[in-house]
Symmetry: C4
Subunit: 234 residues, 4 copies
Amino acid sequence: MNQVINAMRKRVCDANQSLPKHGLVKFTWGNVSEVNRELGVIVIKPSGVDYDELTPENMVVTDLDGKILEGDLRPSSDLPTHVQLYKAWSEIGSVVHTHSTEAVGWAQAGRDIPFYGTTHADYFYGSIPCARSLTKDEVEVAYEKDTGLVIVEEFEHRGLNPVEVPGIVVRNHGPFTWGKNPENAVYHSVVLEEVSKMNRFTEQINPRVGPAPQYILEKHYQRKHGPNAYYGQK
Amino acid sequence: MNQVINAMRKRVCDANQSLPKHGLVKFTWGNVSEVNRELGVIVIKPSGVDYDELTPENMVVTDLDGKILEGDLRPSSDLPTHVQLYKAWSEIGSVVHTHSTEAVGWAQAGRDIPFYGTTHADYFYGSIPCARSLTKDEVEVAYEKDTGLVIVEEFEHRGLNPVEVPGIVVRNHGPFTWGKNPENAVYHSVVLEEVSKMNRFTEQINPRVGPAPQYILEKHYQRKHGPNAYYGQK
Amino acid sequence: MNQVINAMRKRVCDANQSLPKHGLVKFTWGNVSEVNRELGVIVIKPSGVDYDELTPENMVVTDLDGKILEGDLRPSSDLPTHVQLYKAWSEIGSVVHTHSTEAVGWAQAGRDIPFYGTTHADYFYGSIPCARSLTKDEVEVAYEKDTGLVIVEEFEHRGLNPVEVPGIVVRNHGPFTWGKNPENAVYHSVVLEEVSKMNRFTEQINPRVGPAPQYILEKHYQRKHGPNAYYGQK
Amino acid sequence: MNQVINAMRKRVCDANQSLPKHGLVKFTWGNVSEVNRELGVIVIKPSGVDYDELTPENMVVTDLDGKILEGDLRPSSDLPTHVQLYKAWSEIGSVVHTHSTEAVGWAQAGRDIPFYGTTHADYFYGSIPCARSLTKDEVEVAYEKDTGLVIVEEFEHRGLNPVEVPGIVVRNHGPFTWGKNPENAVYHSVVLEEVSKMNRFTEQINPRVGPAPQYILEKHYQRKHGPNAYYGQK
């Protein structure tokens, strides 16, 4: 068990440290976690600690409800959001939250990020949803937990599959992405940020632009993720 | 006394040198100071000196009225603005002025920076004010001093607390921020710049966007700064 | 033959690795190839391999129809597009495809990139076309090959010379450029990206702007590329 | 004489190499020159040579009409523009031309860069003019020389002083700046680029913004450049 958790600590530490390298965070404004449901553990960044001070050793280990098992530091304050996503979606292995600038632009604007092209279709099977703002009660009672519940509600309400649409922006807040492991979840954060920028440009250049054809979405998503995927090696 | 002032010199030098690292300045377009009211001293960047030529030793030390006590170099020409903020607000320990691009965008546009999301709420308790342009008399008689007075007037007029709203943009000019120490005041400059950019994107993506709910402002500000703050360590 | 192909491998590897240095790609989102029609070979990036893992040795060598001759790795999935461009245009020696942000903005907006100034005229003799989206059939039957055919069709339909207009954006997708060799084709990708950005700014600053005069296009293009070119050395 | 010219070669080489460091150029898209009217020489960048291949030795030395005196390389093709500015304005010692992105945005938009704030006023005494496009005849007969003449004409027509307004954008082309020496002229290029960006943001945030008050222009320009200047050291 120790070895498996140590490997998780390493992956989570590396993924957190990749956030500033990808230009997704300032200061300590983002966190990555990984879950192992068989062992019943989540590994997550400690709260408010600079990325260059992170080590595998100072990652925080909690149970599946977010109760600390190992570590002297407090976990990221967003942990309860991660917990809810792991509870709702057994298919995902890692969650990322940042305040990356372009994605926050859409979150604050309260708009879904439309499907305009193939960069989007390569990783997100359809428009990227913007979840509603939390209500006063939700914010006051259990803010971070309720953020997770609102995200899950949005996916259920729209009938979306979190494996096919690995991210969302939460209104007035910012982006959350997920994936099969920390590296993959961070990858989706980079895509979400880049598509947010591309789409801002697109609407500026052509304010009357409409979504791209559905069959392009189908093709590009499937050539990378479908049963007959042929992008990349093997 | 010498030791305390030397520590101030070091902090002020470091904070000034962090400005280009954060992308907030070009050439010599920004300055940081720190005050110690018990010792009756202000330490500030020398005027027009490149950031990479700054040392703790060439910082300028003045009294609380801005009269030079130590140093062969002229202090930043904006010193009288810093002096007025220190006189008006005993709670603040450091002031920063820059011409950072995105914040200047709002200053030149003559608009308050609206509260659209949690990145903002984490550090600024409400919209970030834009102070009026100085009058002809104010500019001609005591320009830099009057800039400070106009900032203080704006806060009094609006009933704002400088600890809760640690920054402003001055119309046709640019941003000023402050904090308990130089590192903290620079942090607020980074936040102000980032929020200025996020909000420009937000209005571009949704020109009819309105402010975020007040209870989100309350929650996010308090979880970092309230009596029961739970962000970060301890 | 081996020596010539080895030199191609080196040039193609170098050109692919220059893409992230020019800020044109994230992750593995771009590829460069070179053709030698006498030897009947194309050298191209392997699919989905990181730029810093590329070596001349792991480039993929195919015949002029894209059938693998040398290499253990799969070629870029966009190879059939490159093949069609090489078949149609005997004047070009290299093709580049990226998802560079600004050019994708125009591709997703479905607009030609207008001729507004001399930066454009120095390398593109007239507006840079936006090719139509592929039809459902084209996408489903032979997507990458059909992308090449649609590009060639667009040039024929408009009577454009691919040497004079060394690039295009494909609607809902992104930019393709070409040139006499890999370095030159990448150069055109940089120009296309930069002009895409300049023109976005231009329309933002003056929404009613019209194209620049034709005689400026003539002059700038010819002073670099005409029989009496006088830019540069020799 | 040799020593003076060698010092010029060094300054011109350094200033040219600073252009990419300031983010003002891609590839070889910019050039700096310096004049010495007593010696009757101009030193300028060779045409089309990469910045990292520049040395003081490969700078080109010409007479005041642009005839080559020393050097095996061709001078920048824009040399005739530099020559005309030196002939018209005896107060200036150096000229810079680039295709910097934000300034080109205004040049292509065909608009003067308005005076909106103090960053502008610190270096440009009033709005930065946009010169008209050249006529067909001007382009065809003596393009680069006529570019210089059109710039001078614009200043005469508007009654502007090139010392007080050290730069311009030429319609459909890009920015030219000047100064007392190469470092100073490049400085003005950086300011022009930064103000171009700030002003684009400003109009985006407030489309109905008007110019800043004239007395702010007066104050900020004079505190840096007037007889009683008090910015900087000494």
